[in-house]
Symmetry: C2
Subunit: 136 residues, 2 copies
Amino acid sequence: MNIGDAARASGVSAKMIRYYEQIGLIPPAARTASGYRNYSDNDIHILRFVRRARDLGFSVAGISELLGLWRNRSRQSADVKRIVQAHIAELRQKIEDLQQMADTLQVLADCCAGDNRPNCPILADLETVNGKAPKT
Amino acid sequence: MNIGDAARASGVSAKMIRYYEQIGLIPPAARTASGYRNYSDNDIHILRFVRRARDLGFSVAGISELLGLWRNRSRQSADVKRIVQAHIAELRQKIEDLQQMADTLQVLADCCAGDNRPNCPILADLETVNGKAPKT
DNA sequence: CTTGACCTTCCAGCGTTGGGAAGCCCTACC
DNA sequence: GGTAGGGCTTCCCAACGCTGGAAGGTCAAG
């Protein structure tokens, strides 16, 4: 299987497959006599694992940890769970931050006439620090 | 006012101030005879605007647009509102994506015993494509 | 043999921030 | 006046996770 076929089979682009190999996330692929990368079914399996983990928002470092546990038959599911729960916590934190931004902006947008006049409470807010009047 | 003072007064690090100047987000600062950047109260005002906009998640490109409107006294508040609402939509989209990830992971984590045995539904899921069984 | 699609490597960039090196300037203190 | 220390200057590098392109080799079909 060429890298293009592996990309189509796994959902990971050829560029990214090479990148993942380069940074050591996945093992170096076998090569044909002419230097083409050659992928086995097991390699595709690994690539799919990586793809799925990325879709779930894991960083490359996180995927590396998960791959290690996946390969390790004497792993403890508690280790996997710990990684996943830490990641969930990060996601929830990001969600909270973004939600806070969106809420603030929504309030400002609701206060803005949105017409052809220059007066705008949004810009007025942006002049301030943390949404409060500046000391000056 | 030196760049350090400006940084403390605006909440934007000196490093970032230089960077914003370099990429043209803010105008080049005045200089003293010896080459030090010199900031006026108005410059601080601009920096605070930038800081607040970043806190609300705007990209540098977005801030550039907002700054343009801020400076333009004949602006129309509708233009500001449009930019802000587009940004709110982006934020909500990101929130939704992250929420989807977190929900999926939470379900998996809840199914995982988290003990010293290797069996783990999380890893089992990661082997699949989009959470469904692979074609193979 | 030619064409076109594929593969290879390497280099550079995106956006935002932090870190550090080498060297100049300013203030304070002796 | 000399010196120590902090602050300033510019420049380069690193991070994250890719993405694009250039230059060139390989393979299969016509």
